[in-house]
Amino acid sequence: MFWDKKEQQVKEFMKEHLVKIKECLDLFETTIGLYLDGKEEEANVSSYNVHKKEHEADECRRKILAKLAEGAFLPFFREDYIGIVELVDKIANRAKTVTQTMVIEGPKIPQEMREDIRVLTHKAVITLEPLLKLFDVPLLDKSKSLALIQEISTREQVADSIEFKILKKLFKEINISLAEKIIIGNLVTIIAEVADAIENVGDRVQILISKQAI
């Protein structure tokens, strides 16, 4: 329709953006898996693919912001959309930071921690699933959208608790130097931050929904 052409385009670009984020996180999980399997060269190449995907997500973000700047949505809603898009983009940024840090610093992950980190990575990545659904349901259908936001939060908590357990194990049970512990601990923290970044998007969407309460 002529009247909502810009808004429809924003909606399409946002879906495109989310697809890029999903692809980026899939590559992120693959990269960490390869690294944990000891395939450092392949992890290096895969890390570069994460970087490329993050760049593609950036391109989508710019397209959305340009459309919003052209006047899509009333300003009252526009600021929320800008906030949401920026936060969605940060998910890919986080993923890129993790893989870059990993291949640059090249920490030696103890054997007994590899499976834990693999699980943490997976749990962080699957936090995205309810977010993808959230952008498919009508946002103002409160029961559906708030349930999905709650699901994001629950999954983020799972990732958080795994992070806590890994860090505790790392510093209490693993016998490596403190420097190595700090480097691995930092890696674990930034992996969990991917789930945090996803949760932040859910929270921002909740603000948008709450503002529509009459």
Binding site: M1, E7, L74, F76, L139, L140, I214
Partner: protein, 325 residues
């Protein structure tokens, strides 16, 4: 030609109403980029003119305070009425007293009527009736806003689930309500511009066709005001409205328009600005915000009582000095 020159005072009042009140209707729509400045002032101009043309005539025959029905205002008196209203507005603005064009114009008519017929010739019941309507106006606008927020809000929340659709409804709603507001203002306020001249017989005998002609001329002056100066005031005057969210603004403008239109049916000229203040207060009540400060309340009280009195005294003074009886 002299009669037409005297009409300029009334047309100037119309220009002022058009310029100042355009913001009430489209401040939000422009502030929220739903419509461009240029489009907004054109829409105000068109709908003010349409309102004046279609319903403006309704107030022309009752625009006097003559109890006997025999008093015939002259061109000079009509000119003094509008001139005094204009001077009164400038005078009060200079003194920092907030004022209303409509109520000053009516004060001018009252002053001339008192001077010509004496206190006993005035229909005080009618004047009190109008004063009562002015007092009711912001209250009714507030109540209507409150009901609109609850009722229309309930329907929107139950039926619209998609953001894009909600955005579209607000966008279109703001424009439609803005146009309706301009229409209602044109229909109600046009009488203060050419009403006294119609009463004086400038357009011929008092009948429907001549009332429509007078209203069209006054409406054109208001439209010109919106076109030439509306852009400058649309943001500053409309600031109070633009601070609202789109739904609240839409309801405020709709309530304003409905209530002003309602008083048009009662043949009572009312202040568009006071209607919008009342409507915004009603919205604020639902939102839990105090949208009306003491300054705005003082402005309304002053416009109810002070403006007509000052304008009436000025009209009497000017008529006395110029020897207009």
């Amino acid at each position: 030609m002299i009669a037409l020159a005297k009409l300029l005072g009334g047309l100037f009042l119309g220009w002022g109403i058009g310029a100042n009140n355009a913001a009430n209707m489209f401040g939000t729509a422009v502030g929220t980029n739903s419509v461009k400045y240029k489009t907004a002032v054109i829409l105000v101009a068109v709908f003010v003119l349409v309102g004046s043309l279609v319903e403006g005539y309704k107030l022309y025959d009752s625009y006097n305070f003559d109890r006997s029905g025999e008093f015939k205002v002259t061109f000079s008196q009509a000119a003094v009425c509008t001139f005094a209203a204009g001077v009164s507005i400038v005078f009060q603005t200079y003194l920092g007293i907030p004022t209303s064009t409509t109520q000053n114009a009516i004060g001018g008519v009252m002053g001339i009527s008192i001077l010509s017929m004496g206190m006993s010739g005035i229909s005080w019941m009618k004047l009190l009736g109008w004063l009562f309507c002015w007092i009711i106006l912001p209250v009714a606008a507030g109540v209507l806003s409150f009901a609109g927020m609850k009722g229309i809000g309930f329907i929107i929340q139950r039926t619209i689930k998609r953001m894009v659709l909600l955005n579209l409804v607000y966008k279109i709603g703001l424009i439609v309500c803005g146009c309706y507001g301009a229409y209602a203002m044109g229909a109600n306020n046009v009488v203060v511009t050419t009403g006294p001249f119609y009463q004086a017989g400038l357009f011929g005998s008092q009948n429907h066709a001549h009332a429509v002609l007078a209203a069209t001329l006054g409406g054109a002056a208001m439209a010109l005001g919106a076109l030439t100066y509306g852009k400058k005031v649309i943001m500053t005057v409309g600031k109070d409205i633009t601070a609202l969210d789109p739904f609240s603004a839409l309801i405020a403008v709709l309530s304003h328009s409905l209530i002003v239109h309602f008083f048009t049916q009662l043949h009572v000229p009312v202040s568009s600005s006071q209607a919008i203040v009342g409507a915004v207060a009603g919205v604020g009540f639902v939102r839990g915000m105090n949208m009306v400060n003491a300054r705005k309340l003082r402005a309304i009280f002053s416009a109810w009582f002070l403006s007509p009195v000052i304008a009436a005294l000025l009209a009497m003074g000017i008529a006395y000095i110029l020897g207009v009886r």
